[in-house]
């Protein structure tokens, strides 16, 4: 078993410390890894457990490159991923034919509520009919009421 220590210098401009840390962890099955501050970056030292030091440094560099790509993809997608998982957590599959929402009310309460809504709608209608003259600019009138349907009025 070789105990030769090998070191690799990592430039901080190329890889951030998080990437170095993960790459070091990824090869921790084969070596004890020491990350030490260096000029313009860090020096990574490997004390092999059972494999040749050279193969560990090759693996480490590969992991470093992979981790840089992974980190950029993860950063770019963090919000999208959180959105998707949040959507999944609140997603509820409703079987076909059972689309109607359960309001939690009894049939009597539902009837009472419908009657109340009808009453309020009636009052609003009555009020708006009575107040027609109070809207001389026609602000409360819809576009269709003012100018007719949009069909055939293509923009040139």
């Amino acid at each position: 078993m070789t105990k030769t220590t090998l070191s690799v210098k990592v430039n901080a401009k190329d890889y951030d410390l998080d990437a170095v840390r993960y790459a070091a962890y990824a090869v921790s099955d084969a070596a004890y890894v020491f990350i030490k501050p260096g000029v313009g970056g860090v020096t990574v030292e490997f004390v092999p457990k059972n494999a040749a030091a050279k193969s560990i440094s090759v693996r480490f560099k590969g992991e470093l490159k992979d981790e840089k790509l992974r980190a950029s993809i993860f950063d770019a997608n963090r919000d999208l991923r959180e959105f998707m998982i949040l959507k999944a957590l609140v997603y509820e599959e409703i079987p076909a034919g059972v689309r109607q929402e359960d309001s939690g009310l009894t049939p009597e309460q539902e009837k009472e509520l419908d009657a109340l809504i009808a009453q309020v709608e009636g009052e609003i209608k009555k009020e708006s009919a009575g107040n027609k003259t109070k809207d001389p600019l026609g602000i409360t009138r819809t576009w269709e009421e003012k100018y007719g349907a949009k069909n055939g009025r293509k923009k040139k």
């Binding site: 993960y22 099955d29 981790e67 997608n77 999208l80 991923r81 998707m84 999944a88 997603y91």
Partner: protein, 485 residues
Amino acid sequence: MAQKTAAKKSKKTTSVLPQVLWRKIGASYLLTNDSGHYAWLKEKDFALVTAGGMTELHPLFSELAVKGFIRNRLDFNDLAAKWKKKNAYLNYGPGLHILVMTLRCNHKCLYCQSSAAGVGDKKTDMNLATARKSVDFAFNSPNPGITIEFQGGEPLLNWEVLKGAVEYARKKSGTAGKELKLALVSNFSLMTEEKADFLLKNEVSLCTSLDGPKNLHDKNRICSSGNSHSDTVKWIKYFQKRCKKQVTEYRVFKPSALLTVSKYSLPLHKEIIDEYVSLGLEDIFVRPLAPIGYARKLWGTIGYDAADFAAFYLKSLDYMLKLNRQGVVIREKMATMMLDKIVNLQDPGYLDARCPCGAAIGQIAYNHNGDLYTCDEGRMVGWEGDDIFRIGNVFKDSYKKVMTAPATKVCVVSSNLEAQPACARCAYKPYCGVCPVYNYEVQGSLWGNIPSNDRCGLFKGILDTLFTLLKSPGNAEILKKWVTK
């Protein structure tokens, strides 16, 4: 000219991939995502995708877009629905409840993880009051379907209590509004016609251990009578016969068997599979040995490393595929469960490979004295004198207290793959899981060290094999049939 450039631009994707994981296998890249989809890419296509150069004109574009691998074509409703289906277990409580009827056993298996006691040691028998209280506790789970599994030791050594627990559970299920499944794991050596009748009438599914042909089985599973294999085979045949002659009053399930692979099994994959086929068993669970309990002390004699197991697994799967091509019905259970995730994008209920693992939130082990553990493996650690995985007691603790016990929480946290640095980056994350008990026993911490973890090596080997086999249309057809519902 400007129009032409705009049209050209619209054919381009954005410059980054959505959230994906990848693994290089041979000359190809396997891509996976959170919803469980996967795709194979050649090295040049992988480079193209990561550089944002893949256009709609590329032959793989549509497939990648449908599977959620193209960032500006994500169908969030579809991906979210698939994620939800795959992780459905997060909405339920524990479904598997393992009642240890006794620690006594009439076998002394080489690899025994159950830490069995001697046949005369009756103080390790569960009494009826504890069995009933355990059943009550199991019914507290919000899971709409629960399975109560009777284990040991050898559970038939405590027959009267087992019988009482079955009757009580069946009676309770009538009013509890839950689907109840009952299962017995036994070596069958103490089975009688009377016991068999009772179990079948109460729809208890039966599972035994079968390690292969007589020589190998009896070498692994040492029994005081010396003929463990003969007893096992006799009763498998009996239950097969009863299953074929279904009756109208109750369902008779097919018996099943579990294989534990010891070092002695490694050269005998064909003989083991042939033994299963000859007994009409349609599923074989090629289970690796874990260095937990008694097996840890004998690891040097009966253990092996991940590479040895992966080679054995591949040979076994190859042979089963060959038999399938000849019309023989035989499936590998681990493959079936993984394929359910890979092909059907759903959770097969395999508690060892999910995130977080099934410890406490998917299963509970009830020791003979009413002590509760995160899982059966956790109970075995307790038997060795370390109660780190104990989460309560049926007589003293409420369901809520058990679900929020420190051991429950720590198992959930340490088996969350998002928090495991290597797993969070692994292409197999959507299908895999870690085991805090294994990590604790083998590596000395609940988190373990995944890069040097042999269990991780085993799962990687199995998943490498399955994904590689799925590339071949002939193999894929057979494997997909295994999980066609």
